[in-house]
Amino acid sequence: MKKENMIITTHRRIARDVYEMELEGDLVQETAGPGQFLHILPPLSDSMLLRRPISICKTDKKNSRLTIVYRAEGKGTNQLALAPVESRLDVMGPLGNGFPAADVPAGEHVLLTGGGIGVPPLYDTACNLREKGIELTTVLGFSDKGAVFYEEPFRELGDVYVATEDGSYGTAGFVTDAIAGENLFFDRIFACGPVPMLKALETAYPKARGSISLEERMGCGLGVCLACVCHSREDTDGTDYRKICSDGPVFSWGEVLL
């Protein structure tokens, strides 16, 4: 883990309120697999104390660069959207434990399921799996056509299905509708997105092998403050928990209570 002022090398809007930013810095060398995240201090502000957790979407160790994709939603990410190329960003990372892409045995077929702003970490995961020669299918869910991003990059790595809630693009409905409708086959599933999506997946495929990535409001991002805990599923007396920032954000299928 490093804390450094990374340089913004590219920054552009790729969908409604969604931005892609490339950052350069030493911490890229410390990444340990897809699904880890950065903890970013909103720039151009001196009244925001909390960092924003943003997943690493793509890693390019050779050039010490990585890419993030984020939605300008609240105060902090809207500030982020204003940061000019070549300016510096106060970044901590890499943090957390990502998808166990390294553990996928050859010959398995992996289903990647991403919802909205949960899509980015799956892209790095997809790249990682393809490098190992693992087959994959991707299902992406968005609210509507204007929110869709990264369909093309994923398509270069395998089949892609898109679902939109309002039916303005791809399958009408949720990712689960697309998976069932297309009768998709998989040995393992990696998912990231809103809790209702993750819940629907764990309910639909209770015996699946795989992992989910969770979000929670964070303080430290390091496991110090206990802002980001969740209950483990086998918790008996109410005190067993996981810290999303440092035990996660990726957990085994069924490991935690959603």
Binding site: K3, K75, R217, G219
Partner: protein, 305 residues
């Protein structure tokens, strides 16, 4: 004695800076980032008799120059703290201030007795000011009679000095300070968080699962400074000041207001390396201004000690 060292009951500190309780866990994670021996002391996360999960999430929210938290005193409980958390810290060269909490006076006594007997902690910090738990906590901190009784009972069982951590959620902090001093407190720490709330625009309801939370960060610094200043006029007890410290100049403000040492909370989340950075920055300022000792920065009449 160096220009940075300060000596408080149970806490011989190389410098006046310690991380604040709850903002440093038990030192495990940030201890991996730098050498904890650089710190003046370490205040530990609140320990309760039994393990506690705390409140549901969301537990934190951002506010202007501040943050709200409603962790709810999550901790592994007395047994595990003694068996797992203290040993790695005890071997280090940095004094520990163990924060203790409970729902009943008996809880506090049990935790105080056990922790103060480990030989690992330099002093106890009696948390009578946590706004995020239903029972105990803050009630002990706003009712003078309860605060006094609790202090007395904890003092009776403790083998190390006892600091009482005061709540700013009161119309008269001087009254509470007065009674806990009479009850035998060896020092005061302040401020704990101010009760606050944020509404989630999407739902129209409180954003934190616990509804209310504790406000910390630079937003509350003026409240903290005023309380430290007020208590310094009234007592010679050592005061550990905190609330919104982000820069070395903030530490100087607390020392000028009358604090004998300081604690840094929220800033550890903005920058986990902040404590050693502040220590170096502060030492640089003393060097620059050719100050023999930190306390010499105080206006004459302000320094009671």
């Amino acid at each position: 004695m160096s220009r940075m060292s300060v000596s408080l009951p149970g806490l011989e500190m190389k410098n006046p800076v310690m991380p604040a309780s709850g903002c440093f866990g038990f030192g495990e994670e940030i201890g991996a980032l730098y050498d904890l021996d650089e710190l003046g002391a370490v205040a530990l996360k609140a320990t309760t008799l039994e393990p506690r999960y705390g409140n549901e999430t969301p537990r934190v929210a951002e506010t202007a120059s501040g943050m709200l938290n409603a962790i709810g005193l999550q901790n592994p409980g007395l047994k595990k703290v003694i068996s797992e958390k203290l040993p790695p810290l005890a071997s280090r060269d940095v004094p520990l201030l163990a924060n203790i909490a409970g729902s009943t006076m008996e809880d506090y006594e049990a935790v105080a007795d056990a922790l103060s007997s480990t030989g690992a902690v330099g002093a106890l910090e009696l948390n009578i000011s946590c706004p995020n738990v239903k029972q105990g906590g803050i009630a002990f901190g706003t009712d003078p009679a309860l605060a006094a009784e609790l202090t007395e009972r904890v003092k009776a069982v403790s083998n190390v000095p006892v600091y009482v951590k005061l709540s700013p959620n009161t119309s008269d902090i001087t009254r509470i300070a007065e009674v806990v001093e009479k009850a035998g407190a060896d020092g005061l720490t302040l401020i704990n968080t101010l009760t606050g709330m944020k509404i989630d625009r999407k739902t129209g309801r409180p954003l934190l699962a616990n509804q209310a939370g504790g406000l910390s960060g630079p937003a509350v610094k003026p409240v903290a400074i005023r309380m430290v200043h007020a208590l310094r006029q009234q007592t010679t007890l050592p005061i550990i000041g905190m609330g919104g410290i982000m820069e070395a100049e903030d530490i100087i403000e607390f020392i000028m207001a009358g604090a004998d040492a300081v604690a840094v909370g929220t800033a550890n989340f903005t920058n986990p390396f902040i404590c050693p950075e502040l220590i170096a920055e502060l030492d640089g300022i003393l060097e620059n201004e050719q100050v023999d000792h930190l306390y010499d920065l105080r206006a004459e009449e302000a320094g009671v000690r």
